[in-house]
Symmetry: none
Subunit: 212 residues, 4 copies
């Protein structure tokens, strides 16, 4: 499904030359800036180009249309999150289950919170731009990393079933979104981080028992 759902969003050309890479970076950053300062509704290609210091024409050299631009920015962000999760999974191998979950959940939350404003801003257009499909892709990537990690847990007989891992991810991502969109105070974010650990730990433990 992602394959079709995501078609047509890829950027137009890969920046091989340095100048091009700089331009693409500037456009990407400008998109986020405009999004933060003006909101989705005032996010226009012209404004992005202006802020990036290039002309609209140039923007369209790198992105075939507006959607592809937004898609790229969102994909970038989710990529970073996925990488964080994968890294955490890699480092937590062979440790007890509780430690594993803690490490992964905290990595996820921290990755999201590193730039709270951006995370929140991206929710605004995710739906328009293939966001769900991208998130699903992120979910799959994370699930695989989680599964690989859980295989190595030092204190469980059998790992939880695939669906449970996906559920855990869904709960983690969903609850985070909920809290962020509710206008997260720093205290709430701390609370989220702690409670999400407990939530995921207890769920996965229950899911392992159930799987026996």
């Amino acid at each position: 499904m992602p394959v079709t759902a995501l078609r047509g969003f890829e950027p137009r050309k890969t920046p091989v030359q340095t100048r091009a890479a700089v331009t693409v970076g500037a456009i990407s950053e400008a998109t986020i800036q405009v999004l933060l300062k003006q909101g989705v509704n005032r996010l226009t290609t012209t404004r992005v180009a202006e802020r990036a210091g290039v002309s609209v024409g140039t923007l369209y050299q790198y992105y075939p249309n507006k959607q592809s631009l937004l898609f790229a920015v969102l994909a970038d962000h989710l990529d970073q999150v996925a990488s964080s999760v994968e890294a955490a999974c890699g480092q937590a191998r062979h440790r007890p289950l509780a430690d594993m979950i803690k490490a992964v959940v905290e990595a996820f939350v921290d990755a999201k919170m590193e730039r709270i404003d951006v995370s929140v801003a991206l929710y605004q257009f995710a739906a328009d731009v293939g966001g769900p499909a991208l998130v699903k892709r992120l979910g799959q990537r994370s699930r695989k990393a989680l599964e690989a990690m859980l295989e190595t847990a030092s204190d469980i007989a059998s790992p939880p079933e695939r669906f449970a891992v996906e559920m855990m991810f869904a709960a983690m991502a969903g609850a985070t979104r909920y809290v962020l969109e509710a206008g997260a105070s720093p205290a709430m974010i701390r609370g989220l981080r702690q409670h999400l650990v407990v939530l995921c730990q207890s769920y996965i433990r229950a899911a392992c028992h159930g799987a026996r």
Copy 2:
């Protein structure tokens, strides 16, 4: 805070005459129809009016702008969900914790799934229209109902803290959204329903222990 966040979305006038009430209903229904058949991007006030069999002018007699129309539809939906949750909380009083959670989670999921298409469609514009604030409000309402119910649980010493209840709701709502947006198959929805029960039960149990 919702108070300010939601300002300006209220409908324009309350229909006093019968004819007017019919009109408002038709517009509301038409909005959902257009949303389902054409998607958010093709949802224009003109099209909605057309489908409702009234003129645009009439639409604007009842809704000051497009946002307020979408807001009303979303608010309606969330209201129904909140009512389901509250009803379930009311009926599950004085039962053991596990039963309570099961009842509430299933009520929530079932309310969302009653019209899956609508639920999914609403996510598309929720962010534009004060959705987060509305969802937060729904969260508060549900939390209160949950707390009142949990007070009466027959098998726990002390109820979980407020934040835990909110977390549970966040996880429930967030995971549901994730699954729905991923393009839920009937099998997945069944899985969601079952697993969400386990997830919430184990989390709340853990949260109660932690609270001791």
Copy 3:
């Protein structure tokens, strides 16, 4: 020219019954209020009716269209001004020229200033509504009164020619408009009143000499 220019602006029916007269008065007053509080661009028939405490339908019972309403309000105002000028002309008969002019100019300015806000507000739509023709009519009326008065001046051989009288009126009305639209301070209005007397006196005196 006024005859054709003004056709179609007359109100629909003359209020013979008391209730009707009250309604018409309320609508008229409401028009001015809306004009003052919301500006020409927000002056709609619905809003006027609302403020007047009647329904739009009722408004249209008395005025065939929006223009006729505005026309009536403007005509009313100009009528009051014309009456003031005529009264002043009547009272100043058989006095020396300078006194005459003084009396008339002051009557004119005072009539305009009695409700400065209204005077200024009316300029806003005068052009759309046959204002110039109405003003011309006012000019003719005033000219006749002035001529009749000047005939009786105790200290001039021959009265000024018709055109000169009209010019005087034009200068008086025009300068007043200029000052009001420039955002008249009380000091400026006092200045206007005094200087306009001098201006008209010296002009008419010159015009009489020239006429000899």
Copy 4:
């Protein structure tokens, strides 16, 4: 005060390329054409663009909204008038008072009459568009030029006070407007030109005496 009153009417960008300059000129001219042929009420941005041979979008590249377009046209016209007055003031230096006044008044009237249709048409919307503030600015500019000229009059002891100069301008502009809006015949315009000279001469002479 004009500074604030005029805010928001400035054009959007200055044409740098030749093509752009041509476009702006065409739009400006088209505005006048539409105004003359169709009247204010039928003056729409779409029609103006059409007549100018460009798309609406192009119009909005140069003028942020309809008002700013009308404002620009009005400002242009008033600028020409002001320039005429200034030029006349410059040329009439060191001449006797009567000559000065004659020169200035005739310059003013002639500037206005050069394109009577345009002058009259502009009155139609001046009020909506910051006209009064603009006219006030014109008044100030003219007053300064007049004062500088009057300083050099060969036959008066002391120049008239500031307010008198402003009054003269107000009377001149106001009377002209009155005559034009009354539907000036050529004969009336000749009359206006002559009488306005007398009016201003006699008034200023009186004002100088009064100032002694």
